[in-house]
């Protein structure tokens, strides 16, 4: 009988389909069972050989939603802080938590890794942290989607970090110092050997400049997508078997995984910002 039930349930359940449906981007947002909001794709734009489609996708919507959510939270924080400060009270509650979080990122990530230029980069890094955190967490709420589970989004963020790192490095070290990060001076080797070593190192240094943001993009994307694959697969198992015996324990595991994913969402936002500030800091020092 159980085999029958299994067989019967599995007829309509395709886990791969579930997983991909919920992690992939699209031009519709599901609010099942309340319905689906769908919109039309705009025509492609061709710039040279590049085909560009600027239609806001599901992930764009959730990205804007995440940004708006952070702005609302920040607005509330600002209001509470001003009120609390007017009464000479120490910051408490949500506002106090956000204040501490912001100051912690500013001091322990930005200033600790970048140094004297840290305060200049702090707004960027703090904004990045909250932006990524909100996007990560939105994937864990019902009907939500993770924009950071899209390689294009994480690549865009990483590319931005790359530009900040390189331009910031150029500004801090000047043209000569910046060239030194591509053509490094090898200590203790002089003459032709030194020149040869420098030329030999140049491709490696250049490659390392690009692998850093690549690692950033893939790490965040991989973590978010993997977490959702696991969660959705477990949900798929529950639906697939449609029985309490298997579904019950799976649901418990699922709840644990969900908690873990909440942690991962915060952790990956932290790791992204930590690495970004480390890369910025590395480029700020003349001695690479």
């Amino acid at each position: 009988m159980m085999q029958e039930a299994q067989h019967g349930a599995s007829e309509g359940v395709n886990i791969g389909e579930i997983v991909l449906h919920h992690t992939s981007d699209g031009y519709a947002i599901d609010f099942e069972p309340f319905g689906t909001i769908e919109w039309h794709k705009w025509p492609d734009i061709h710039i040279g050989g590049l085909t560009l489609n600027l239609t806001p996708t599901k992930h764009v919507v959730f990205m804007i939603f995440a940004a708006a959510l952070v702005l609302v939270a920040m607005w509330y924080t600002k209001r509470s802080l001003i009120k609390q400060r007017a009464h000479q009270r120490a910051p408490t509650g949500f506002a106090g938590f956000i204040e501490q979080l912001v100051l912690w990122i500013r001091e322990d990530l930005a200033i600790a890794n970048i140094g004297k230029n840290g305060p200049k980069y702090a707004p960027f890094l703090v904004a990045l942290f909250f932006f990524i955190l909100a996007m990560n967490l939105l994937g864990l709420v019902p009907w939500g989607a993770t924009a950071t589970g899209n390689l294009a989004v994480t690549a865009a963020l990483a590319l931005m970090v790359f530009l900040v790192v390189e331009i910031g490095g150029f500004m801090a070290m000047g043209a000569k110092g910046y060239l030194g990060t591509i053509f490094p001076h090898v200590e203790g080797v002089k003459g032709i050997g030194g020149v040869a070593l420098t030329l030999f190192m140049a491709p490696i240094e250049l490659l390392s400049k690009f692998t850093k943001p690549f690692a950033l993009a893939v790490r965040l994307f991989g973590n978010m997508v993997a977490g959702h694959f696991v969660i959705l697969s477990l949900i798929g198992i529950i639906l697939l078997f449609g029985s309490w015996i298997i579904g019950g324990p799976t649901a418990i595991v699922l709840a644990a995984i969900m908690l873990l994913e909440t942690l991962v969402a915060a952790l990956q936002a932290y790791v992204f910002v930590l690495l970004a500030s480390t890369f910025i800091g590395l480029m700020q020092e003349a001695h690479h």
Partner: protein
Amino acid sequence: MTLGMLAILLAEGGGSGPFSVNPGLIIWTWIVFLVFLFFFRKTFWVTIVSRAEEREKTIAGQLAEAERLNAEAKALLAEQQKASAEAKSAAQSLLAEARAAAEKERAHGVEKGRLEQEALLDRARRDIAAERDKALVELRREAVELALGAASKVIGQRLDAESDRKIVLDYLAKAGGNH
């Protein structure tokens, strides 16, 4: 199941699969993030971080002030020590000078006293000698007068005073030469 997923992944690789990159989305991400960053910075950053920055500025200012004061105090101390050393050496040289002057003065006084004393003694001696000579001359004259008086009495005639005196004086000189 896994194979099925892979198949779907591969099939949708170019479309909307997890590993596809939609360039439009990259541009959207930049736009959304930059707008977000702009508002975040403009509106909240100052409020949230202002106090921390203020505190940092205050602490940095205080540190700089403390450092400045410390340096000032050190400079003052060095100056003070220099001045003290100078004063000490000046006092010592003054003392030595005074001691030397006193020594000189004392020696001078002693010498002067000695000289004066000697002069006094000399004068006294001279005075005494002169007085004695005078007394001696007086005495002699008296004696001569007396002797002459006595002799004239004895001879009963008045002797030529001047030549007699000469005789007596010669005699006395002879007698004086003996003692």
